[in-house]
């Protein structure tokens, strides 16, 4: 279920040409802000949960996953070189699984590990571990969704962006009901289970998050394999 050749090519395409520097900006902001707040100790004692939970989980993590998850397969679809990949005797499910694994690994490096580091910078070890666990889970689900999206439409980034900004960014933080279907809150539920008693404000329970997260991951990956199975290459969108 894993093809090392595809993985190395994907990894090189994802991180080459100074792109790694671009991905490094949001996590650096996250860690930098945590360091500044640690030094100035603001009025709100629950600030690590707020910065790392709200900002980290509903902005940094989804945006990183969005850009990486839609580009691992989407970039090849975009420039047409995906036909060479699809012409090889590699099963489509292996292609999807490999791309998904690489995207998840890169997202973990650029979004989940920084959550751990920022938590440690903030001086809360338990919270840092919880955030890492939650971010690992959220990275897996987000990337499954975005890889699927990039097989479905050539404008995956804009579609995913609308979802991240409107649903995860605004509705899930304003409307309680939207949290049940919010991937950020699945991650926060896991984080809360590891580090209870923090002001993380997870909108769903651990069981519900686990079940729904697993359903979303399996469902979107299966859809991506199906979609790639009957793939037609279109020209640049008119």
């Amino acid at each position: 279920m894993f093809n090392p050749t595809i993985a190395s090519i994907t990894l090189r395409a994802a991180l080459g040409r100074r792109r790694a520097l671009l991905y490094a900006i949001p996590p650096l902001i996250l860690i930098g802000v945590s360091a500044i707040l640690r030094l100035t100790s603001p009025a709100d004692p629950a600030w690590p949960a707020r910065i790392l939970g709200t900002f980290g989980f509903s902005v940094v993590l989804p945006l990183t996953a969005l850009i990486i998850g839609t580009s691992v397969l989407g970039a090849e679809v975009d420039d047409g070189s995906v036909v060479h990949l699809l012409a090889t005797p590699v099963p489509r499910r292996v292609i999807v699984a490999t791309k998904f694994a690489v995207a998840t690994a890169v997202t973990i490096v650029f979004a989940a590990v920084p959550e751990l580091l920022a938590g440690l910078v903030a001086g809360q070890g338990r919270l840092a571990l919880g955030l890492l666990a939650g971010a690992l889970v959220a990275a897996v689900i987000y990337n499954a969704l975005f890889v699927c999206l990039s097989t479905a439409t050539s404008r995956a980034l804009v579609a995913g962006l609308a979802y991240v900004v409107i649903w995860e960014g605004v509705l899930a933080n304003l409307v309680g009901g939207a949290r049940i279907l919010s991937i950020s809150h699945y991650g926060l539920a896991v984080a809360t289970a590891v580090a209870p008693g923090q002001a993380l404000k997870a909108g769903v329970g651990l069981t519900a998050a686990g079940v729904l997260g697993a359903v979303v991951t399996a469902g979107t990956l299966a859809a991506a394999v199906r979609r790639l199975g009957s793939f037609t290459l279109r020209g640049d969108t008119a």
Binding site: P42, D44, R50, I51, F55, V165
Partner: protein, 299 residues
Amino acid sequence: MAADATGVIHDLGYQPYTGPRFGRAAVVRTLTGYSLRSAFGLGRGARAKIVPVGVFVLMCLPAVINAFLVARGGTRAFPYDTYSYLVRVVGMTIFLAAQAPELVSRDLRHRVLPLYFARPLRPADYPLAKLVALITAGLIVLDVPLLLLYVSTIVGVHGPGAVWHETVLLLPGLAYGLLWSVVLATIALALASFSGRRAIAAGAVAGFFFLTWVLSEVLGTVATGPGHAVTSSTAAHVAGLVSPFTLLDGVRLALGGTQPGQVPDPGAGWGSGYALLLVVLVAASVAALVTRYRKVGAA
């Protein structure tokens, strides 16, 4: 003329065009108009229209809600200056992330810039024409809903005095919409012009706007403590410096905006600081754009 020139290798005898040609102004005008059309996906397929038209409809929703409320005898539900802050932030983020790369990244990607510059066009003309087009597009998205709000309100008020009152309130709102459009479109176009890949450019624009906006909001909450209204403290003012949206909101309050906003009223001191930072941001973005197109042909 070719007949009496010496040293001509090939003269097949074709008639060249010797009449008047359109100059630089016409090229810039056409480029601006064409870019404005492409900012809304006009003249292109239905799929290119989904995002701009969708955002425009989203931005008009508060005005439509207002029309219903006024028709039922209510008063105007949304102010002219902030309109609906949340809808504006979300709408402009998505609109610019989707459409700024549409204007500049496609030309870079398909390497057609040398064709543009084969015309009597100076290096700065191309980015500035694109910028004017994107600012106009942003202005349409921001101010047409305001005009709808105005029209749907004045049909429900009585007497010329009340209509005049609404008009006086509307005009600063329109100007404020122009300020939003200039600031956001300039930053977005400068960011987008650095990548020929539409996805990367859109990610950079959206990342910048969305990330700084939420960061500023969270910092504002952290600075004032949980459950409190936004209060004036140095930390809260500093939090407002992070995002273009909060800068714009702070400038609005400093200029005498009455609606409470995302940031506390910065007063004259911080307000001029916010305005100065906005000017610096816009100037830096324009400079980056113009410099970017000094050397063309690179993807």
